[in-house]
């Protein structure tokens, strides 16, 4: 079932397929020192003292750094500054770092880090988010006054009236697990004090170079201009290389600055798993009123997100959950209360989906449960309630100005997988065969980019050279998703030149304006938008400079096939010649493009507003069998259809969707970070089970293109939409196979054995 032959374009694939791409740990610097973090064995404790003497005595150890060595600020956070570079007052979770050991070799650093001793008074660990919200709970952050990090609400209509109008009221509790991003490359940093001007160069595996720079500069007490974060190939992020990755860079930079030598710190997988933030586990109480006619009359829900020891981006993650708490369905009476909560569990933060995978697991099962009560198919129920052109969302936003393609995505998937026919074949727990067959579907809509979460703008620089070659740079970071390639393709198309002419410049925080973080599936829409605007600006400059020679007005100049053309076919100048002429005329073919997200609004007292400036729509379906005796689930086939506005690099769009479906399959069936008593036991990829090739089915992707007028390129988002609905589709398919609903993740069936690691080579 291979896709039709289409060439994929990437600017970095040759380097990656030959092993020439240099990731952070591959970089070599003379005289480099190595650092390793030191943890304590406490989950919640008040620090009395940190004894580094034994570690310092180890031959080869250069220095041990703790909070006392931080010349600037030790506490960080994009929202609340509670995340420590080094634990100072308390240990708040098992992954808190108290010190780093800097040594001549990595082996020595790792050995000595184990000798750092923490003397502390243990405190009762707060591990249950519901209990954490009670007034008598011990506090994780005393000065916050409560363990509640944040609340969000949505109030619209009157839910009491809504439930009175209902013929059925369905009430269920759902629970989702803690999951790890499991990027193949762990957190890593090399920091180099530049001898010429003292600037600290930071090479690292992180998806937010600008927040890394802020963390580093603040930690060292120096100006932003004294830190240069340089783009380095990155082995995956999935939202997970923001806060923790930036803090790893800050610790490494501190060592480099104080010791005036290059320092490398590459995280071992167990450190990465133990310390890095995870996807929030959720508990959701969901109550839905429906009429006999299959209309939703009201939804009341209470969402509790375990944010772990530090705030990170919990208020933003839970905000998206709140805004999207009814999925792509019109609900006129809604009462939603959301709580982000501090506990002594592992920190939770951004992960691909950002609050939507949890809610979609709830909603896409609730609509099926409701449909069953009403006595209609889940598909029919969805059709009667889903958003359409001009619908108003639960936050009062009218969906217009773009194509509302929910029905298109749903219909496309149903047709492709032949859903209705296969639904009739589902076992529902009956029959003699060992393998029970089921098919399931789920769909979603998703607000694009950051929405009312925060500042949302992005820069691009196009710098054409006198020979017609072109430098391009944007504030978007290459996480592995192919953003540099998409930006290059957008630039080439807008300028009417061959893409191989464009050299994507290695990004540096010292060159491009701070354009925020490469998260929220905002790379293509924000970065691509800024590239388009820069290219238009450049074309305007070129047209004004050369229109006279082309015998036309500036606004009549066209750019195509590596030529700049006037009205007549004969009036044309090769792009390279044109650039040479620009230079001769002393006019720089240089442009800065800035794309600002259109206005959004939010009233936190009512939970009403135009939460996002546009939306995307997607649907996925899956076929599977469940073995009656073993409980083993085998995925047979999966189909996805997504409207991402426009597919800039179609093969990479497919890659995003395949990868998103795979990750969501892991979320549905296998993945779970286990931490009894707050101490994590799933510390490597042999016990934390991400999908292997044999766990996944053949997948089919259908790209739907409805170019969005608010996006300069017409393109929107795909990274996260792809990752938020296969788990509920699996849950629905498991129901259709077995007749049993599963309200918690991962779905564990009957005699399902514990996941086993690969049979060879694992310990």
């Amino acid at each position: 079932m291979s896709q039709p032959e289409t060439k994929c374009w990437r600017n970095d694939d040759y380097a990656k397929v030959t092993g020439k791409a240099k990731f952070t740990d591959d970089l070599k610097f003379a005289n480099v020192l190595h650092a390793a973090p030191a943890y304590s064995d406490f989950v919640h404790a008040r620090i009395v003292s940190i004894d580094t003497s034994a570690a310092e005595k180890v031959s080869g150890v250069v220095r041990v750094l703790t909070a006392n060595d931080v010349p600037g600020v030790n506490r960080f956070g994009q929202i609340i500054r509670d995340y420590r570079i080094f634990a100072d007052d308390k240990i708040r979770y098992h992954g808190d770092v108290v010190a780093i050991v800097v040594a001549e070799t990595r082996v020595i650093a790792i050995h000595a880090a184990q000798l750092v001793k923490v003397n502390a008074e243990p405190l009762p660990a707060v591990l249950d988010p519901e209990a954490a919200m009670l007034p008598d709970s011990p506090l994780v952050h005393e000065n916050h006054g409560s363990n509640i990090v944040n609340t969000h609400i949505v109030r619209r209509g009157n839910v009491e009236d809504g439930f009175k109008q209902a013929d059925f009221v369905i009430e269920e509790n759902f629970q989702t697990q803690t999951v790890e991003h499991a990027y193949m490359e762990t957190e890593a940093a090399v920091c180099v004090p530049r001898s010429t001007d003292g600037v600290i160069e930071v090479y690292g595996s992180m998806q937010h170079p600008f927040s890394t720079r802020r963390f580093v500069a603040a930690c060292l007490g120096i100006a932003l201009s004294e830190v240069e974060v340089i783009g380095t190939p990155m082995g995956g992020g999935f939202g997970g290389k923001d806060d923790t990755a930036a803090i790893v860079c800050a610790r490494t930079a501190l060592a480099a600055k104080l010791l005036n030598r290059p320092v490398k710190m590459v995280y071992r997988r167990d450190w990465s798993m133990r310390e890095s933030y995870k996807r929030h586990p959720y508990r959701v109480h969901y109550k839905m009123g429906v009429t006999k006619a299959g209309r939703i009359t009201a939804v009341q829900c209470r969402i509790v997100a375990d944010g772990g020891a530090y705030c990170s981006v919990t208020p933003w993650v839970t905000w998206r959950s709140t805004v999207q708490c009814c999925g792509p369905y019109v609900v006129e009476n809604i009462h939603c209360d959301t709580f982000g909560v501090y506990t002594n569990n592992v920190v939770a933060g951004a992960m691909r989906g950002f609050g939507s995978p949890q809610m979609n697991f709830v909603i896409e099962q609730m609509v099926e449960i409701a449909a069953q009560r009403v006595g209609i198919s889940g598909i029919e129920f969805r059709r009667r309630n889903m958003v359409r052109q001009g619908s108003v969302t639960i936050t009062g936003q009218k969906l217009d100005g773009h194509k509302v393609a929910m029905d298109q995505a749903l219909d496309t998937v149903l047709r492709e997988i032949d859903y209705e026919k296969k639904l009739a074949r589902c076992a529902h727990g009956k029959g003699d065969a060992d393998e029970l067959y089921g098919i399931g579907v789920a769909m979603s809509y998703r607000g694009v980019s950051l929405g009312a979460e925060g500042v949302d703008f992005c820069a691009a620089i196009i710098n054409a050279q006198a020979d017609g070659s072109i430098f391009l740079e944007t504030g978007i970071h290459e996480n592995g998703q192919g953003s540099e390639s998409a930006m290059s393709l957008i630039c080439a198309e807008e300028l009417g030149v061959d893409v191989n002419r464009i050299r994507y410049r290695r990004s540096s925080t010292s060159n491009i304006p701070d354009s925020g973080t490469t998260v929220a599936s905002r790379g293509t829409i924000m970065g691509g938008g800024s590239v388009t605007l820069a290219a238009r600006e450049l074309k305007k400059k070129i047209a004004e400079a050369l229109c006279e020679k082309l015998h036309c007005a500036a606004d009549e100049v066209r750019f195509k096939d590596n030529f700049i053309c006037g009205k007549a076919d004969a009036d044309r100048i090769a792009f390279a010649d044109a650039m040479r002429q620009m230079w001769a005329m002393q006019k720089f073919p240089f442009a800065l493009g800035t794309f600002k997200a259109p206005r959004v609004s939010w009233d936190e007292h009512t939970g009403q507003g135009d939460a996002y400036f546009t939306w995307v729509y997607g649907c996925q379906a899956v076929e599977l069998t469940v073995n009656k005796r073993t409980g083993k689930v085998k995925l047979l086939n999966a189909v996805a259809a997504h409207d991402m506005g426009r597919a800039v690099n179609p093969e990479m769009v497919r890659g995003q969707i395949y990868g998103g479906m795979a990750m969501s399959a892991g979320y549905g069936l296998h993945e779970e970070v286990k931490a009894p008593g707050g101490k994590m036991t799933t510390l490597n990829l042999n016990t934390y089970r991400i999908p292997r090739s044999m766990d996944l089915p053949e997948m089919k992707v259908i790209i739907i293109e409805n170019p969005d007028p608010v996006s300069p390129t017409g393109a929107k988002s795909i990274g996260e939409p792809a990752n938020e609905i296969l788990a509920p589709a699996i849950a629905n398919a498991v129901f259709n196979a077995t007749g049993n609903r599963h309200f918690s993740l991962p779905i564990r069936l009957g005699a399902l054995p514990e996941p086993t690691a690969c049979e060879e080579g694992c310990r």
Binding site: M1, S2, Q3, C8, R10, N11, D13, Y14, A15, K16, V17, T18, G19, K20, A21, K22, D26, A182, Y183, M184, E185, M234, G235, G236, F238, R268, R269, S469, I470, N479, G480, Q481, G482, D498, N500, R501, R503, E651, M652, R654, G655, Y658, G659, G660, M661, A662, M663, N684, L685, N686, I690, P691, R692, S693, M694, E698, C758, G761, C762, R763
Partner: protein
């Protein structure tokens, strides 16, 4: 002790014998294509070929490889930089995203296709089972391996020489006695006349 790495004979200093081979390749030989992502042999990012067999080297020591013939990702492309057809297929099929698993994945697939140039997609799925990828869902990787398979078939049936000097690849050879023939540099194959190749420079 000697190793034969990408067709080149390497004399291993005694001081390196107790090193993990992944560190020896990455640090001493600067062959950083093999990645060290888990340290426990679970993820396959460190996979190299040892006598044509995939081997996860993050848990193995240098001394265990005496006389072995090693192929790392750096030895897959021709000496002029022309990609091996399997590498080219990875590019054409969009099988690369972050690229961290790619070296191990390409080498695992290469060893598999040398033995089975007529695979089903299910067999390909089985062959790459031990290599984790978090980006792609494996779909386009399987596409790429399937696309490259006919090349291996051509090589196996003698229609096309696999390598520039016309030496056919040996089958699985755990037999160390064969190592003498390997002292000759043996760049891996590419299809004669293939347009597959290096990323063109800006024009």
């Amino acid at each position: 002790m000697k190793l034969f790495v990408n067709g080149k004979e390497i004399e291993v200093p005694a001081s390196a014998m107790q090193k993990r081979i992944v560190e020896f390749l990455r640090e001493d030989l600067d062959l950083t294509g093999a990645k060290n992502a888990c340290d426990v042999g679970a993820c396959g990012a460190c996979t190299i070929l040892v006598n044509d067999e995939p081997c996860r080297i993050c848990i193995k020591l240098v001394k265990d490889f005496a006389g072995a013939r090693i192929l790392t990702i750096e030895g897959m492309a021709a000496s002029d930089g022309t990609l091996h057809p399997l590498q080219q297929a990875f590019l054409d099929c969009g099988a690369i995203q972050c690229g961290y698993c790619t070296p191990g994945m390409v080498l695992t697939a290469h060893a598999f296709l040398l033995k089975n140039p007529r695979p089903t997609r299910e067999q390909i799925r089985q062959a790459i089972f031990k290599n984790l990828c978090r980006c792609t869902g494996y779909q386009q990787i399987i596409d790429a391996v399937e696309k490259a398979a006919p090349h291996y078939l051509s090589v196996a049936s003698g229609i096309l020489p696999d390598v520039e000097d016309g030496i056919l690849p040996s089958g699985p050879a755990s037999d160390i006695s064969k190592r003498t023939e390997l002292a000759t540099p043996r760049p891996p194959g590419r299809m004669p006349g293939s347009t597959a190749g290096q990323r063109p420079a800006a024009t």
